[in-house]
Amino acid sequence: MASTLEDLKEAQREAEEAAARGQTSGDREITYRDALREAIVEEMERDENVFLIGEDIGAYGGSYVVTRGFQEQYGRKRVIDAPIAELGIVGAAVGAAMGGLRPVVELMTINFSLLAIDQIVNHAAKIHYMFGGQFSAPVVIRTASGWGQLGATHSQTFEGWFAHVPGLRVVMPSTPKDAKGFLKSAIRGSDPVLFIEHSLIYRNRGVIPEGDYTLPLEGAEVRRDGTDVTIASWSRGAILSMGAAEELAEQGINCEVIDMRVLRPLDIATVAESVKKTNRLVVVEESWRTMGLGAEIAAAVQEEAFDFLDAPIGRVGSLEVPMPYARNLERLIIPGKDEVIAAVKQTLA
């Protein structure tokens, strides 16, 4: 579960004291969830106009407990429990942004973004261009991908769809550091941002820089240097890929792992560069394979690094089935370490 606001403040105080004692606190380790909480709190403290809106983010604390305690802290004016009306919520946030506020929307899960997709795609993403750049709707939409016996309608992840849309920025961080840095940039930025979390990594811990920092909303990052095969992924998939890479290393296969981090704009150059070294690529994602984001990465990389490819680019994704509830079937749908390892080996076969 999430720490309370007090725990959060405590952690910050400790870090500050540590810093004061001149002791490097660069090794402050916090959870993905707390990284998000810090980003939100810091931005709300920085800018009066930042406010939160979403279903059950107040008294309930958010379905993934990211906003717990914030309503007591900031009141109902700045932490709004919204009706179950995703289209209306995002539309109202778009209007509030046009009116000068800095809305941070929480859509409980990305599955429900389908109900708001007209406001995201036909309004938020188009307003700046459609009106000749005279104004814009810089709304930040936080939502979560994920699964866990939740059934067909609650286990999807549509990041590839949103990556298709000009005017929108899409980020899907896998580490606490990126989560905090990206969220703060998104809230300060001038574009609508879809910020996709993952329900299965909120408790992951990671080191983050001290104090107030932001990260530009662009660029993939090489998480592991390697020479034999490049693995490109993002969010939980990047973590899964790191695990697979470790295991492959023991077998003498040396993988370079790239965390895409930002899905629009997509940093193909970094992947192509890596492929020019490894000559092999596997893309790992949790979406259905057909028309998942892996398709774009594969298509773009073969354009950029065609002459360097020694094997077909492999794609690892979900089986093309609506997610079944039964535990044993669900396990077969979502790719695991073994599927990644198999795909890597196939590019070497």
Partner: protein, 331 residues
Amino acid sequence: MAKAEPAVRLLDTLEQDELLELYRQMCLIRRFEERSAEQYAYGKIGGFLHLYIGEEAVAVGAIHALGPNDHLVTHYRDHGYALAIGADAGAVMAELFGKETGTTKGRGGSMHLTHIERQFWGGYAIVAGHIPIATGLGLALQYQEQDAVAMCIFGDGSTNAGAFHEALNMAAVWKVPVIFLCENNLYAMGTAWEYVSAVQQMSTKARAYDIPAEIVDGQDVLAMYEAARRAVEHCKSGKGPYFIEAMTYRFRGHSMADPETYRDKEEVEARRGDDPLILFRDQLLEHNKAEQAQLDEIDQAVEDEIERAIQFADESSFPDPSTIHDHVYGE
């Protein structure tokens, strides 16, 4: 909430076995939910588990008014609906366990129960998503001139969703036979109605479509049955849709993950006084419609049925992995 007088008249007109059947169904749902919470704790049930405890009278009373040709679609808090309309407790528990013998062969789980013999087309997990579907079922009944109705059950929170309004408007324009049954348990997950709805009574929203509506005490199974009978009559007479707002209360958390930080223990304790099961039990005894012994017997029979259901679910096997690609497309 203005508590309506228990429908005493019905108490006298219904046959005893019918009254006992209503009691048995409420009892069955109550025990089923208690035991499934326990099975969830044992890790045999995964994902979400939305318990219906405290709201039994709504499903039992309303569904009792449906005939063999009528249709039903509901939201995800659907164990009670499945049991009330006659799904086998073993098949329902097996579904919660994700077994091949479940009502959807383990594919749907707790939120997507179904019982096609009685045209219960399932529970749906996208809030309000099934409400337009109900309007469509009503359209099919009208189109094929069938003497039947479609009942749609949803929560107070879903009346704030656009899908609800688009569905009610179409149903009213087309005058299709659909009973919209809103379970107003005062909360949508962790949010009290007053923060998200402009009006206290969700039935007020039916006025925007000239749909006749009534507010009913959802803790009184006979009042629910009476209201549903009126609704069925109205719909079958070709007068179009009907709206029922059942005032009820969820005794347990929204799902097993609910921290219940949004309502205080006192409120919950107070509302537990309106336990539909106890209210009806006392009513039956008070009006000499049943002997203590008969009711105890039912309680015991239900206990045994649930025990068998759990055993059945336990002994059933998980879906065969080789069938994972089945049912994505029809034949």
